[in-house]
Amino acid sequence: MNLSEVGDARVNGYLFVLQRSLKTFLPAESVRDAVREIESHVRERIAAAEATPNERDAIERILAELGPPLRVAQAYSAERTIDEAVTTGRFVAIVRAVWHLAVTTVVGFFAALGLFVGYVVSFATLLMAALKPIFPHNVGIQFVNGVPIGPAAEFPVPAAGVDLRGGYWVIPLFAVAGLAGLVLMQWCARRYLAWWRNRI
C-alpha cells in the first residue's frame, strides 16, 4: 500500500508524539534509534498491508496493533528507568523513575507527591536528631495546649501555648523514626514502581 499525503502525515504525527515522549527520559541518540526502528516497523507493515476498506482504517489498524505512542514510550520508560530502579533499588534511579512518571501521568503525579511528603518528613525528623545537641532548647517533641503533636524545631523560641519537651533522649528516638521513615518510603517507592512496571 502506498501512502497518500494524509496517511503519511498520520504516521509522522504518531512518530512525533513518540519522539516527544521518549525525549523526556532517553538520551537523544537512543531516541533517534528507537523512533527509527518504530518507523521502520510501521512503514514495513504499511507496505505489506492492503488499503481495505480504506487507507485510513488500514493505518489506524497498524498503529493500534503497535499501541498508542504514549504506551510505547511508557514501555521504554518501564524497561529503562523503572526496571533499573526496581532491580537496583538505588535512590537516584528511584527518584528518576518517580519523577518521570510524575511528569507524564496523573496517577504518577499524586504518587510522587505522597512519596515526596513522606521523604521530607522522614528527612526532617532525622535532621532534628542532628540539631538537638546544637540547639537543645529549640528541638524536641511539640506540645500544643498539653497535646503532643510530634517532633519539632522552633526558632527562635516556641510561640505562646506551644511547648517543646524532651531531653537528649529524643535524639535516638528521632534518629530511629527518621531512618525508619526513609526505609519505609524507599520500600513504598519500589513497590509502587514494581506495580507500575507490571501494569504496562
Binding site: 526502528e37 516497523h41 510505547v72 514501555a75 529503562r80
Partner: protein, 115 residues
C-alpha cells in the same frame, strides 16, 4: 490476584525467553521477531512493547543489534544472540523445562489425590 493478572505475570516473565528463542536460529529484525512470536504464541499484546525489551536485552549484552540498509525499502535493525545471550538462553531453557516438569508433577499428584 485475578486470573488476568496472573496470566499477565506469566506473559511478562516468559517474554525475555521467547525473544531470545526467536533469534536463536539466526538474526531477525524487530518485525520478524514479532511475527515469529505471533505465529507460535500469544505473548505479543501490543507490538510496540517488544522494542523496549529488545533495547534492554541489547543493553544487558544478551543481544547485538545492527542496522541493515538496502535489503528492503526501509532500514531494518537486526538482532542476534551474543555469547552471553547464548549462555543465558541455555540457562533459561533448562530452568524453564525443570519448572514445567515440577508443575506437571504437582498437577499429576493433585489429580491422583482427587476423590
Amino acid at each position: 490476584m485475578s486470573h488476568e493478572t496472573w496470566q499477565e505475570q506469566i506473559r511478562r516473565g516468559t517474554l525475555d525467553l521467547a525473544i531470545l528463542l526467536s533469534v536463536a536460529s539466526g538474526p531477525r529484525y524487530g518485525l520478524a521477531i514479532i511475527q515469529h512470536l505471533e505465529a507460535f504464541t500469544d505473548l505479543v499484546v501490543a507490538e510496540g512493547t517488544i522494542y523496549p525489551i529488545l533495547a534492554r536485552l541489547t543493553r544487558e549484552g544478551l543481544l547485538a543489534s545492527t542496522w541493515v540498509e538496502g535489503e528492503a525499502p526501509h532500514p531494518r535493525k537486526y538482532y542476534a544472540l551474543t555469547r552471553a545471550g547464548t549462555k543465558r538462553l541455555a540457562e533459561m531453557t533448562a530452568a524453564w523445562r525443570e519448572f514445567v516438569k515440577k508443575i506437571d508433577r504437582l498437577m499429576a499428584a493433585s489429580e491422583k489425590g482427587r476423590p
